[in-house]
């Protein structure tokens, strides 16, 4: 018995075939993953199943019956619910109010809050999804908000739940919890469709996997009978090698970065508690750790936006304490920030403006205070070509680029003058496999080129494959340190959780 079927769905936007003859049959009571790179057509397909788009051709079948979905309302009535990547919750209302929104308890003139809270409590009980019905949305964590979204769908009686990139916003522990909840929902007979491009998650949670590429269905496979590399090949159309290209021997002689006993407190809370790290030229040094253990604050300190720290930070033999960010950049430093859209780019600026951001005042881009557009465009054209940045034109706003291409703009800019030291904070977060491969290769090439790189990442696999040395950060301290020869997942994992057992080296 199929819960929902997409029969030959086509969806064209002008000349773009977002979905091209896609037939996927989803069995009820299973977790079905839809995989593909950004732009493969996953979200379009889900929007068709959820009634947001009408298909150009083909049909949707729910529980064996052909249906026409004019709006999400129709879909919900037929038992299909969707949790979007960006939550549709009202921040200053309570959990219970959000869940019953649109189907309020009480009479048209009187909203029965008590009944609403009671209903929500029962619902939580029934599915073992615990939330505090009286808490305001703005006061609860992102993971909790997602749970509210799921409950909202369940409250409307759906039994097919579509989750659009549900893990993108979650911390690792929250992901584990989400997966447990998904398993529990399936055990009660619900069907879950999960859209993602993270393969390890797909393999962990799903029963079946459908892979889309460039709007076409490449195939549907049983999760048990497939490996990660096979899936990658289906998604990208070729083998992908993560972990960067060939590592050359480098002379690790100059010290490009030194943090000595760095301490930082805010509002009486100790965020950094004596951090010591060195980076030499020609090596990639990683900082591992669970999110929220001081990494973000450490990045703020060493990138120059937080000056109220104790201790010393030396970059390329200069103490940065009294240097402006501009002076730091002039001192041969590149910085790839954590949040590419908010920190790395001016999204409303065109690509060429973004490519010179921070260097716009230097020759050849500026001459006696006037911008030299000829040089800026020449530089932009060259980098767009070298880095294979997919843009409609260099005048197009950066906001129109995909995440991977936005990241390439930042990489191109921050490494244009071969800085001796580069801070790379979460450089692959939210990117698809193809783009991650590019970034990895790029980092290793920079290392081979004798640049020193400090890589901060939550992806342990990434750190293990790229780094020459890894420091582990826990509660604002360095909990341990390992060299490439001794890398051991288990030990690093323990250090990340603050357990003893790491060898200081």
């Amino acid at each position: 018995m199929y819960a929902i079927e997409s029969i030959g769905i086509c969806k064209y936007f002008g000349n773009l075939k977002a979905n091209d003859d896609i037939t996927i049959q989803i069995e009820s009571g299973t977790v079905h993953a839809i995989c593909g790179e950004n732009g493969a057509g996953k979200s379009t397909l889900m929007n068709v199943l959820y009634g947001l788009y009408r298909p150009t051709a083909g049909s949707v079948r729910i529980k064996g019956k052909d249906v026409i979905l004019n709006s999400p309302k129709d879909a919900i009535n037929l038992g299909v619910g969707m949790v979007h990547q960006h939550f549709m919750l009202i921040n200053n209302l309570t959990v219970a109010e959000n869940i019953v929104l649109g189907q309020e308890t009480g009479t048209p003139l009187y909203f029965d809050r008590k009944q609403a809270i009671k209903n929500v409590e029962e619902l939580c009980e029934q599915y073992n999804l615990m939330v505090d019905p009286t808490a305001k949305i703005e006061d609860i964590t992102v993971g909790m908000q997602q749970r509210v979204e799921i409950l909202k769908a369940l409250y409307r009686g759906v039994d097919i739940l579509i989750l659009d990139e549900p893990t993108a916003v979650l911390a690792p522990s929250e992901i584990t919890e989400l997966f447990e909840n998904i398993k529990m929902l399936v055990s009660t007979g619900k069907t879950v469709i999960i859209i993602t491009h993270k393969l390890d998650e797909v393999l962990e949670i799903s029963d079946k996997i459908s892979v889309l590429r460039l709007g076409k269905l490449i195939g549907t496979v049983d999760t048990k009978s497939v490996t990660e590399s096979e899936l990658t090949k289906m998604m990208i159309g070729r083998e992908v090698l993560l972990g960067g290209s060939e590592r050359l021997d480098t002379k690790k002689e100059t010290e490009v970065f030194l943090a000595k006993d760095v301490k930082l407190s805010r509002d009486g809370r100790k965020l950094l508690n004596g951090v010591n790290i060195t980076v030499k030229s020609g090596e990639i040094v990683g900082i591992a750790g669970v999110d929220g253990n001081g990494q973000s604050e450490f990045i703020e300190v060493i990138s120059g936006s937080e000056k109220k720290y104790d201790g010393e930070v030396i970059i390329n033999n200069k103490n940065i304490k009294s240097m402006s960010i501009r002076e730091m950049k002039e001192n041969s430093m590149g910085f790839i920030p954590e949040d590419r859209q908010q920190e790395g780019l001016v999204l409303d600026f065109p690509v060429n403006y973004n490519l010179v951001l921070g260097k716009h005042y230097l020759p050849p881009f500026a001459k006696s205070h006037f911008l030299n557009f000829e040089e800026i465009n020449k530089f932009s054209e060259k980098n767009v070509k070298d880095f294979d940045i997919r843009v409609p034109s260099i005048d197009a706003p950066a906001s129109t680029l995909s995440g991977g291409n936005q990241q390439k703009v930042i990489l191109a800019r921050e490494t244009a003058d071969d800085p001796k030291f580069v801070i790379a904070a979460q450089p692959t977060r939210g990117l698809d496999v193809g783009a991650i491969e590019y970034v990895h290769n790029f980092l290793v090439e920079s290392r081979n080129n004798n640049q020193g790189i400090l890589l901060i990442s939550f992806e342990l696999d990434e750190l293990l494959s790229l780094c020459d040395r890894i420091y582990v950060m826990h509660k604002g301290e360095i909990a341990g340190h390992q060299n490439k020869e001794d890398f051991d997942l288990d030990t690093i994992g323990k250090m990340m959780l603050g357990l003893k057992g790491g060898l200081d080296g």
């Binding site: 969806k11 009408r54 960010i325 908010q342 790395g344 780019l345 716009h360 006037f370 911008l371």
Partner: protein, 353 residues
């Protein structure tokens, strides 16, 4: 091609809002029992009908261009300067001082000095909100609007006490020296103040400054994303300060040119409202300095023409205020209009394709 498309896109909503403002104006005129076509004919006759009318319209636009530019540059850095009026009054006061007390200079130099003092006084008046914003993140909407009333009172106090003209029945300052007056360009009854040339030059200079220079780039970057600008080494505070000081200075120039061109002496209670008009003028032009020249003209047409409309057709000139209100409403609602249009487009794409 793309540029033409972009331009059309840029001026679509402003033109729509102007169109609707005339429509609403017409409705109001009908309700007051008059013929809207006649009334508008009178309005345009009053603004363009004769060389004298045309010169009046053009002269009125001088100060409006300056205040429009003032709002524009602050807005590029995402601070809304509602204090144009106070800066204008203070600029006029400074210009008046320089025009009265600096003596013995040839006209050209004296004019430049007086303009510079007017600019400086306007900039000083914007300095306090700028510092508050930089140091304490105080919203400029609030700080600048409050500084208006301080400016009115301080200048009034000065005129009433230290700088009151002795042989005058009115509370006013002395007439500025002839060397500080902006000359008129005159062909029979067509009489334009040379301040118009200054205003147009200011618009062109500001356009170049914002679009072609390093400072303009930085001001825009800070306005669009202060966080990433800061991370890329662009000093947020410096650029907020520069943009607000130039903004205040331009508003000061509006007051200075008004004084040097038309009034000649500063009366107690001078606040012509140009500073406030600058806000819709700049927003309607989407901050583009060149377009501001034209939107200023539109407002000046409405202001000047409405007098003829009132005297010859009997339609109250306050209709023009209502029309301005509609324009502002449309600018404010633009975001909603864009959203609605996008939604319709999406729906269509969903249905057809």
């Amino acid at each position: 091609m793309d540029k033409v498309k972009k331009l059309i896109n840029d001026i679509k909503t402003p033109l729509l809002s102007i169109f609707f403002s005339f429509l609403v104006g017409a409705t109001l005129i009908i309700f007051s029992g008059k013929n809207p076509i006649e009334a508008y004919a009178a309005l345009f006759r009053g603004a363009f009908g004769s060389p004298a009318a045309l010169s009046q319209t053009l002269n009125k636009s001088i100060s409006l261009i300056f205040t429009g530019l003032a709002v524009s540059i602050a807005y590029q850095c995402k601070s809304l300067n509602i204090g144009g009026e106070g800066q204008l009054v203070f600029g006029a006061f400074g210009a008046s001082l320089a025009g009265i007390f600096i003596k013995g200079l040839p006209a050209v130099i004296h004019i430049i000095v007086v303009l510079a003092v007017g600019f400086a006084f306007g900039a000083i008046w914007a300095l306090i909100p700028a510092i508050l914003k930089i140091k304490k993140d105080v919203n400029t909407v609030i700080s600048t609007i409050m500084m208006n009333y301080v400016s009115f009172s301080v200048v009034s106090f000065m005129i009433n006490t230290f700088f009151k003209a002795s042989k005058s029945d009115f509370v006013t300052m002395e007439q500025v020296l002839d060397t500080a007056r902006l000359p008129y360009i005159q062909f029979s009854t067509f009489r334009i103040n040379s301040g118009l040339v200054l205003a147009i030059i200011a618009a062109i200079v500001l356009y170049i400054f914002l679009n072609k220079t390093v400072s303009g780039y930085e001001i825009n970057a800070v306005g669009l994303n202060p966080v990433s600008s800061n991370i890329s080494g662009i000093n947020y505070k410096k650029n907020v300060l520069i943009s607000l000081l130039i903004s205040g200075g331009l508003a000061g120039l509006a007051g200075a040119t008004d004084l040097m061109g038309s009034m000649g002496k500063l009366y107690d209670g001078y606040n012509p409202g140009y500073g406030f008009d600058g806000i819709p003028i700049a927003l309607l032009a989407k901050g583009n300095p060149i377009v501001i020249i034209f939107t200023s003209l539109l407002f000046s047409v409405l202001r000047v023409g409405s007098i003829t409309m009132q005297t010859s057709v009997g339609v109250s000139r306050t209709i023009v205020d209502a029309m301005q209100g509609v324009i502002i409403l449309f600018i404010a609602a633009e975001y909603i209009i864009v959203l609605v249009v996008e939604a319709i487009k999406k729906k269509k794409a969903g249905d057809k394709l």
